[in-house]
């Protein structure tokens, strides 16, 4: 299957979205209730500076903070059929889609981009829980396949940030079929010898966890993220007992051997740079303020940080 690589023209709001945040407004932390400056929240990638609670972050904001200088090329995702089942519950599926698009200013639940992190070229994909619960439908499947194919074409690692309630019921069996489809995408990376890093964010559940989100070479989670196949409520109803504290949270999974690491969002970029560079056989990264990325940056460079520590 051949996709033609296509990059989306940069959008104005992707450049200004972080600046839209007014200086003088406060928000409450979802968890501890501390009042925080909007600016403080966005500077900390939506992590509460009081209690460390990781609040929701959109894929676009995540990418602005992840990629060097906030610069990335958004990859166009092949359009799937809209509403293949003519699904209708209390609302029509196309109406739910329109509402989600209007609320998020995004087309769908996954954003794919190519760019550099610490001068390390990567392809990244991020799922948007605020878009219909991040649900995995054909678009998300196409996005992951496109991301893998682009990574293979460019010879880069793929870093995927998962966040989803599961499969998109409105696409019925076709949403379920994204489990094998995205698994094929992961196999493309593995066969090309390219690293596939999964960052599991709150929440990652259902068919998403049972496919591409659990097949990474390295599995990292954000603190306290709920990661499961069956949700805690379903389990409590089935086994009729109370579940232990922290059950199915990132730290619990780490303890049970299901993850490599649990990492604070504010340290994630650095960690991804370190890991991808080692797996790609590159020299250690140069840290600190760097000039904007240019073509010469793809070459290995002398390492200032290493010299410092040697002193």
């Amino acid at each position: 299957m051949n996709w033609i690589t296509n990059y989306v023209r940069p959008r104005i709001n992707s450049i200004f979205s972080r600046r839209e945040v007014p200086e003088n407004l406060w928000s409450k932390c979802d968890d501890c209730g501390t009042m925080l400056f909007h600016r403080e929240i966005s500077d900390n990638l939506n992590v509460c500076t009081n209690c460390g609670h990781h609040m929701h972050i959109t894929p676009r904001d995540r990418f602005l903070a992840l990629f060097d200088g906030g610069v990335f090329n958004e990859l166009a995702v092949p359009e799937p059929l809209a509403d293949p089942l003519h699904f209708r519950d209390q609302k029509r599926y196309p109406d739910r889609m329109k509402a989600a698009q209007k609320a998020s200013h995004e087309k769908e639940a996954m954003l794919v981009a190519a760019g550099e992190i610490g001068r390390t070229p990567i392809v990244a994909a991020a799922q948007d829980f605020s878009f219909m619960g991040g649900s995995m439908g054909m678009y998300v499947g196409n996005a992951i396949i496109a991301a893998a194919q682009e990574a293979v074409k460019l010879g880069r690692p793929l870093v995927l940030f998962s966040a989803a309630g599961g499969a998109r019921m409105q696409e019925g069996i076709l949403s379920l079929m994204q489990m094998p489809r995205t698994t094929v995408a992961v196999q493309m990376l593995k066969e090309a010898g390219l690293p596939y890093i999964v960052v599991l964010t709150h929440p990652t559940t259902g068919g998403v966890t049972a496919s591409y989100a659990m097949l990474g070479d390295v599995q990292i989670a954000e603190p306290n993220a709920l990661i499961c196949f069956a949700g805690p409520r379903v389990i409590e109803q089935t086994i009729r007992e109370k579940l232990p504290e922290g059950f199915q949270r990132a730290e619990y999974l780490l303890e049970h051997g299901m993850l490599d690491r649990v990492t604070d969002r504010r340290k994630m970029r650095e960690e991804l740079i370190v890991i991808t560079r080692m797996l790609m056989g590159m020299s250690p990264a140069t840290w600190g303020d760097l000039p904007p990325p240019g073509p010469e940056d793809l070459k290995p460079e002398p390492n200032a940080a290493l010299d410092d520590t040697a002193k």
């Binding site: 089942l85 019925g172 379920l176 079929m177 094998p180 196999q187």
Partner: protein, 320 residues
């Protein structure tokens, strides 16, 4: 004693009356009820035909879950010879929700794997109602891997409400086990043929239904979520399962149009449970045809065409 489904109540009444008449005649030699009973039989047959000719999606779910429907074990016993069960995931446990082992299908050695729901209280508990734990998927993975190394085709029989939502299952990596099993399906260089014989319940089914060919029995269903689960999420009312079943398009007929199901295997009048032997024979015919179709394909082609089949899904939609 037949177990009637709720929508079969009128049929139960007629068949009950015919049975009553015959019982009365047995006690009274002077009575001749045969003409009347035969008329009732005829009426029952017409009704059965009508009911099953236009089963709604929800009724199909009920038929697919019928307790007397032939299950994995029945198929394995009837279809194969020399079935040699192979147990365990080599890590934690043997999961009896998943049957698996070596067997011969018309003399040809194959690896067979399937979900077994059980047929009475004891066996249902042993089999955990066909809901596998991670060990079940890891056993399946191990058996697929073995089949791959020895060049044996893999036959999978799908019949599960879904993977087991339990505490231990989650702690031992239910998601990872399902993901790895699906991955194995996509890696093996031998034919993989799957038949949904009852319920194809979500990820618990995909884990070994990711085959070169996927067949479904006429009244089998295969869905991303149970109609009850979907109803409670989208309608906020689990009793709206009829509407949800309708909307999910989970029947073999709809899945065939979407390209998810390659072949529909006909069921006898009134569903598989009314004539298990006939159903099993139909599955045998289908399995042989599907395997024959894949004979002579190279490892590379088997893998490539299987992947392409799934990558290309979604190009066809359904009529409203």
């Amino acid at each position: 004693m037949t177990h009637y489904l709720d929508f079969e109540k009128p049929l139960a009444d007629i068949e009950g009356k015919a049975e009553e008449l015959r019982a009365m005649a047995r006690n009274n030699e002077d009575m001749d009820v045969e003409a009347e009973a035969a008329a009732l039989d005829g009426k029952a047959k017409t009704l059965l035909k009508d009911l099953y000719a236009k089963l709604t999606p929800w009724r199909k779910c009920q038929v697919a879950r019928h307790p007397e429907r032939p299950h994995c074990k029945d198929y394995i016993e009837a279809l194969f010879t020399e079935f040699t069960p192979l147990a365990g995931d080599r890590n934690f446990a043997e999961d009896e929700a998943i049957m698996g082992g070596l067997a011969r299908l018309d003399d040809r050695p194959v690896m067979v794997i399937g979900h077994e729901k059980g047929h009475d209280t004891n066996s249902r508990i042993t089999r955990n109602f066909g809901m596998a734990r991670p060990e079940g998927y890891r056993k399946a993975l191990r058996l697929m891997d073995m089949a791959d190394r020895f060049g044996l085709p893999v036959v999978t029989l799908i019949d599960t409400p879904g993977a087991y939502p339990g505490k231990g299952a989650e702690e031992r990596g239910q998601s990872e086990a399902i993901a790895r099993s699906t991955e194995k399906c996509l890696q093996i260089g031998v034919p993989l043929v799957s038949v949904v014989i009852g319920e194809g319940g979500s990820g618990g089914a995909v884990a070994f239904a990711t085959g070169n060919r996927v067949a479904m029995l006429e009244h089998a269903v295969y869905s991303v979520i149970s109609p009850e689960g979907c109803a409670s999420i989208l309608w906020k009312d689990a009793d709206k399962m009829r509407e949800a079943a309708e909307a999910l398009r989970l029947t073999a007929q709809d899945l065939h149009q979407l390209g998810v199901c390659d072949r529909i295997i006909p069921e006898p009048l009134g569903g598989a449970h009314r004539a298990p032997g006939v159903t099993i024979d139909a599955v045998r015919t289908a399995l042989n045809a599907l395997l024959l179709d894949l004979d002579g394909m190279s490892r590379e082609d088997l893998i490539r065409t299987r992947r392409d089949k799934f990558l290309n899904l979604g190009s066809k939609g359904l009529a409203a």
